[in-house]
């Protein structure tokens, strides 16, 4: 299959890591920066390890893989440690605390954890318990990091999470969610059902993992609604790894579909399946692809593809297509437009623009 974006090298390496053994040095010279900027170098290092290829790769490449592996290994440790601290802080409150995204993959020992890099830890707690969770976290050293009154209100009234917190000594970042999507978003889902279907994490008091279907749906929702396109390709590789894990279960595709309908997340799932299949050759059966896009609202597919493929191409300048920068802007606007209605969005963007101007002028 022809990759529709120009990261052919990186996509091929992710799809068929065995092919890494055949790459010559000039190719590595282009691949390493692409993988590194996309946040995927440590994943490539792990893929090469899994296939026992590392020793066969050119000598100048090996230190880069070793360094990337070191960072990923360290972050894996740090995530375990943070999770333990969270469990200690929130355990006595008797509320369920779900790990989301990267932290869930690592603590659940799931395939996307291999060589994954982190910026923060995401958790989900019931909305009714949000105040207590925040109070307990503050007692244990987490605090909202540098936010104006405006930002506080933005998060607390409109968003699906508290203002991002960081730990006063460890400097680690924590996002405390009470929903998968903002309060003001057009699309609404059911966080209570996600909590209900979660399972306790052995050895912890309050930490829980969402079920596999919900991990897929949350990852897809995050990718296609939050507009963090610099990590787009990395998040897509997470989805690919989760889908491949699920496939081994009987009835996986229909369970996933049913779950998406229950949670009202059929749209992000359709996008995730389409682009996983297209870019990473995830073996999604054709009927599943077709049925997932039936009855979806929105623009015609060629237009949507043009936009999202450019979004993924933001992983690295080498991959850029004509119009990538414009697409990046449109995706940013889109993420905001999905997050809140125009009557809230326009004043918000105006406020942010003026704030930026004020901070830039001496």
């Amino acid at each position: 299959m022809n990759a529709p974006i120009r990261c052919r090298l990186l996509l091929r390496a992710l799809r068929e890591p065995a092919h890494l053994a055949e790459l010559d040095l000039p190719t590595w010279d282009r691949l390493l920066p692409q993988a590194s900027q996309a946040g995927l170098l440590s994943r490539l290092a792990m893929l090469a390890d899994d296939l026992r290829l590392t020793g066969a790769l050119p000598a100048p490449v090996q230190p880069h893989l070793e360094a990337a592996r070191t960072i990923a290994e360290r972050q894996r440790h740090a995530v375990h440690w943070e999770a333990r601290k969270l469990d200690q802080a929130l355990g006595p409150a008797g509320m369920p605390v779900l790990l989301l995204k990267g932290a869930a993959y690592v603590l659940g020992d799931l395939p996307p954890a291999r060589g994954r890099l982190f910026a923060d830890i995401d958790i989900l707690v019931p909305k009714a318990q949000l105040g207590r969770a925040e109070a307990r976290l503050m007692l244990h050293g987490w605090h909202a990091s540098q936010h104006s009154d405006y930002d506080q209100r933005y998060y607390r009234e409109w968003m699906h999470e508290l203002p991002p917190m960081s730990h006063i000594r460890r400097q680690s970042h924590l996002d405390v969610h009470h929903d998968l999507l903002p309060e003001t978003a057009r699309l609404r889902t059911r966080p209570d059902l996600v909590i209900e279907a979660s399972t306790p994490l052995p050895g912890h008091r309050c930490l829980r993992l969402p079920c596999l279907e919900d991990l897929v749906l949350h990852s897809a929702t995050h990718l296609f609604h939050e507009g963090e396109w610099g990590h787009g390709l990395r998040d897509l590789t997470d989805l690919d790894a989760l889908l491949r894990l699920g496939m081994a279960r009987p009835g996986w595709w229909s369970d996933l579909r049913t779950r998406a309908e229950t949670l009202n997340l059929g749209y992000p799932l359709a996008l995730a399946l389409r682009y996983c299949h297209w870019l990473l050759a995830t073996p999604v059966p054709e009927p599943v692809l077709v049925s997932s896009r039936q009855g979806l609202p929105g623009p015609p597919w060629p237009l949507r593809d043009a936009l999202f493929l450019r979004g993924f191409s933001l992983a690295h300048a080498d991959c850029a297509l004509p119009g990538s920068a414009l697409a990046g802007f449109l995706l940013y606007v889109r993420a905001h437009a999905l997050r809140m209605p125009l009557r809230l969005l326009l004043p918000h963007l105006l406020h942010k623009a003026l704030e930026k101007r004020r901070s830039e002028s001496p």
């Binding site: 100048p60 960072i71 690295h316």
Partner: protein
């Protein structure tokens, strides 16, 4: 081929498309269109080999920022690959920015080493590691020791091999700041310095050309032998006093670039350093006297 074997016009031409410069374990492919950056590279890196192969560890670029500002207040920007990790700086600081950017590339990526923030030099097979707070006179002393025949490994970055605990060198130019520029000029009039960049965030900065011997031997690993914490003090007699190993350990670990990132290995390597090194405080007021003390140390 060495960079100095090429004429400046040729260096400038090649820098436009990217010139692969080999500095110890790393190859930097450097691009720039700025003439004064090319001149400084040509002068200070004359003895460095050009990398032969098709591979570079880091693709860096420093160039003028486009836009109408370039006529009013010209600025330069540093790129690692396609990213711009820093705020732009005034254009006459472009060469210093390239040097800082190259340090940043190593410090932020080369986690296959333990990286300490300290200068390293070697004499008679033994290496001297000099951590030092800003203003302690570390780079002045590093420059003077190199000019006195010590082999320069680095003025900022101590790279420790994770398998053998040996030190790897870069032999890149020594960054001199403020008064130390004139001190070194007065101490060694033959020393070759790069252009002086004023009003940088580190004050006035100029880089000293490494001696050809250090560059030629850059691939030789060195065995750590001494850790010395220098402190310059006006009119103080040069003298070494013992420094507690426990305190030295803590200082090195807390000033390292990736001590905690390496986890248990970081501890093991730093502890290994303490086992093989004598640790000293060193106070000095004049360079010739300081150099005598270090000659004594090396021949003891």
């Amino acid at each position: 081929m060495r960079l100095g074997d090429l004429a400046l016009t040729e260096v400038r031409r090649r820098l436009r498309e990217g010139l692969p410069l080999s500095t110890g374990p790393f190859v930097f492919r450097i691009s720039t269109r700025l003439p004064h950056v090319a001149e400084n590279l040509h002068r200070l890196y004359a003895d460095f080999p050009l990398a032969e192969g098709p591979f570079a560890d880091f693709h860096v670029r420093v160039d003028a920022m486009p836009g109408p500002r370039r006529w009013l207040k010209p600025q330069a920007q540093f790129w690692l690959d396609a990213t711009r990790p820093f705020q732009p700086l005034p254009r006459d600081q472009a060469y210093a920015m390239l040097e800082w950017g190259m340090n940043w590339c190593i410090a932020g990526n080369a986690h296959h080493y333990l990286m300490l923030h300290a200068a390293v030099l070697e004499r008679n097979g033994h290496a001297l590691i000099m951590p030092g707070d800003p203003g302690a006179g570390k780079s002045t002393l590093t420059a003077a020791l190199m000019l006195d025949g010590w082999r320069l490994l680095s003025d900022e970055l101590t790279l420790i091999g994770r398998r053998d605990g040996l030190l790897r060198g870069l032999a890149r130019p020594v960054s001199l700041k403020n008064a130390s520029i004139d001190v070194i000029r007065a101490h060694a009039p033959q020393a070759v310095l790069g252009d002086v960049a004023r009003d940088t965030h580190k004050g006035t900065v100029s880089h000293l050309k490494p001696d050809p011997g250090s560059v030629a031997r850059v691939r030789e690993p060195a065995q750590p032998r001494w850790i010395v914490f220098p402190r310059w003090k006006a009119d103080a007699p040069a003298r070494l006093t013992p420094h507690s190993k426990a305190a030295a350990f803590l200082h090195l670990a807390s000033h390292a670039f990736n001590y905690s990132l390496l986890g248990a290995l970081g501890f093991k390597l730093t502890a290994g350093l303490m086992d093989t090194c004598d640790c000293w405080d060193f106070e000095y007021g004049s360079l010739p006297e300081a150099l005598r003390v270090f000659r004594g140390l090396a021949s003891a």
